[in-house]
């Protein structure tokens, strides 16, 4: 059975291996250069304290490859589900060959076990290798990315570490399951894609923020968490404050919500107006830079209240999420075995 699985699978496995090797070579050639550029840049910028500008410049220079690689890792599990998982059974059913192969001296359960095992493990290995290679390569970029593309950001989190392995295993078995139920290749592929996309949206929006209770805390306003202040000339006495999705002292944290609170503790939203004189004092246009204005706003008691998951939780979250997907995979596999024995004919 292992021979048959390999014989039928070796074509696409070879294609995948070739792509993986190409990617590995490209990353191995460019990665060390990227890392040394980064460390040289950091060494230079810490002396004159211009690291923020260096980060922006460095990341901006590699944004395209960063996004492309992230996308590759995000899409790889989908490909495993669509092109390996969904047709696994539908192709047999459509050609009628299940009647041939399931009548050799081997039970359907065994047939499915070998197919799922061999192809599933290959999918997991490919996704895992790809994920870890990209994690290694983009490490300098992850360190310099803005908060919406940092490691913990929903888009990037799924393309780093070990989570892609969980996604690959799950999508592959999802494809097999959907194929078993739908029994036709193209609809099965479409449905697999739709279900996986829905789950991948639900995960960062609904589940991941609560894997570990997030931290809620208040912070003084400063450069890190204030995007900009606007002096309202028409209605003197107000300063509009726009907050960023970042918290001071916890670089790379995944900020779930950030609100401005006024001195009495009332929540004003992510953009709010502080009541402060704009005709005279530190926030008057004549006072020049905004720094003194922010100091004054802080003195009056305005704060940022943020709920966030710190960067230190990246690896725990990776393990937990991979675990969740592994459980889902096992559940679906169990269903597949039950269905192929009892219902599918």
């Amino acid at each position: 059975m292992i021979w048959l699985t390999w014989r039928q699978f070796r074509g696409s496995a070879a294609t995948m291996a070739a792509l993986l090797v190409t990617l590995a070579v490209v990353l191995a050639l460019t990665g060390p250069g990227l890392a040394s550029d980064y460390s040289a840049g950091i060494a230079a910028c810490t002396q004159d304290n211009t690291c923020d500008r260096f980060y922006d410049h460095f990341f901006g220079g590699h944004e395209t490859s960063f996004m492309a690689l992230t996308l590759v890792v995000l899409l790889l599990p989908v490909l495993a589900g669509l092109f390996w998982g969904a047709p696994l059974i539908t192709r047999e059913l459509e050609a009628g060959t299940h009647l041939m192969v399931w009548n050799q001296s081997i039970t359907r359960g065994r047939w499915l076990a070998v197919k799922l095992g061999l192809m599933g493990l290959t999918a997991v290995a490919v996704a895992g290798l790809c994920g870890l290679m990209v994690t290694w390569w983009s490490d300098p970029l992850d360190k310099s990315a803005a908060e919406n593309l940092a490691l913990m950001a929903p888009l990037v989190f799924g393309a780093r570490g070990i989570a892609p392995m969980g996604y690959a295993a799950f999508t592959f078995v999802l494809g097999v399951t959907v194929g078993m139920l739908v029994r036709r290749t193209l609809p099965a592929m479409a449905l697999t894609l739709a279900v996986f996309a829905a789950i991948q949206l639900a995960m960062p929006l609904l589940v991941r923020p609560h894997l570990v209770p997030p931290i809620t805390s208040t912070f003084e306003l400063g450069k890190t968490n204030v995007n900009g202040i606007g002096v309202n000339r028409d209605r003197g006495g107000y300063v509009d404050i726009q907050l960023r999705s970042a918290v001071p002292g916890h670089a790379g944290a995944w900020v779930l919500s950030a609100n401005l609170i006024d001195p009495s503790g009332r929540t004003l939203g992510s953009e709010g107006a502080a009541q402060i004189s704009t005709t005279s004092g530190p926030c008057a246009p004549s006072a020049g830079g905004g720094d003194s204005c922010i100091v004054e706003i802080n003195r009056l008691g305005y704060r940022q209240q943020a709920t966030y998951q710190p960067l230190e939780r990246f690896w725990p979250f990776q393990w937990i999420e991979t675990g969740i997907y592994t459980l889902l995979t096992l559940g679906l596999s169990w269903f597949c075995f039950w269905w192929i024995r009892r219902r599918l004919s």
Binding site: Q8, N103, Q104, S105, T107, S345
Partner: protein, 295 residues
């Protein structure tokens, strides 16, 4: 092992429709069994139940004393060649033999190789490029080289031209003589089966109409032609299979173990094909009667 296949009250439902119902069968070993019936009569359903591809909705079935497809040992004893003889189009002929040898403990590699060589199939050729007849032969070879005790074939010759059909059936016959196994094959063409089968199951309208050894069936079925007469006035041991009447004349196909002495009848022997057609005809007459009653 005296019984190849035994079914009691076997039934299978697809949604609300019964594809096969109240099927009770007892097929002795050592026969080439023909399963005949019109399209959609439930032949494929019965064969899939026998090979374990389907689970019964009602009743039970045992094949060679075991539950179909209950494990590798049972699977090894029953060969199945499905309708349209599916093979993997991407794999070569040699790959298929390798598949057979890897997946079957009793695989007869010499027999498979010799058979394909005799048929002139190139081992390196892809199965997708074979003609219909060659593909059927490949599928049959896979079934034969597995060395089953019962080989089930579902409409194996339906897509073949007359010559390929004859070659296929001939090959099958030679193999049964050589290796002594039972065969259960279906067809909607009686003429195919007439040459090869010595046991017959007639399946019409998802019910088994008659079963028995072909000789026995031919000896007990007769066509009676004579002046018009009501079926009630036939002797009690003569079971009417089908009847046709004109104003003056009646034609009956009857089944009886006793000889027919009534001089009013002209008695003719039935061929297998006539016999099967008579059972198919019975259904249509029944329906016609039902319609007339409704009116």
């Amino acid at each position: 092992m005296n019984t190849v296949l035994q079914a009691q009250g076997l039934g299978r439902k697809y949604g609300k429709r019964w594809a096969l119902r109240e099927c009770t069968l007892d097929i002795p070993a050592g026969h080439v069994v023909g399963l005949v019936g019109p399209n959609g009569a439930g032949k494929t359903t019965l064969l899939k139940l026998a090979s374990g591809q389907l689970e019964p909705t009602a009743g039970g079935i045992t094949v060679l004393g075991g539950r179909p497809a209950s494990g590798p040992a049972q699977l090894a004893r029953v060969g199945f060649v499905a309708q349209d003889t599916p093979v993997y189009t991407g794999l070569s002929v040699a790959d298929h033999l390798r598949l057979g040898s890897r997946l079957n403990p009793r695989w007869d590699a010499t027999m498979a190789r010799d058979r394909l060589a005799r048929l002139g199939l190139d081992p390196a050729q892809r199965a997708g490029k074979l003609s219909g007849g060659q593909r059927a032969q490949l599928a049959l070879t896979l079934g034969l080289a597995k060395r089953p005790e019962l080989l089930i074939l579902d409409e194996p010759v339906a897509s073949l031209d007359p010559l390929a059909r004859r070659e296929f059936l001939q090959g099958l016959m030679e193999a049964t003589v050589e290796h002594e196994f039972s065969v259960l094959l279906s067809s909607h063409l009686v003429s195919d089966l007439e040459r090869v089968c010595d046991f017959l199951i007639v399946l019409v309208d998802s019910r088994v109409q008659v079963t028995g050894e072909a000789d026995q069936l031919l000896a007990t079925h007769h066509r009676l032609t004579g002046p018009r007469r009501d079926p009630d006035r036939l002797p009690a041991d003569q079971h009417v299979v089908c009847a046709r009447h004109t104003d003056r004349q009646s034609t009956y196909v009857i089944r009886t173990d006793a000889p027919i002495h009534d001089p009013a009848w002209t008695v003719t022997q039935l061929g297998l094909e006539d016999l099967v057609l008579a059972y198919m005809d019975r259904r249509t007459t029944d329906q016609r009667v039902a319609l007339e009653v409704q009116r």
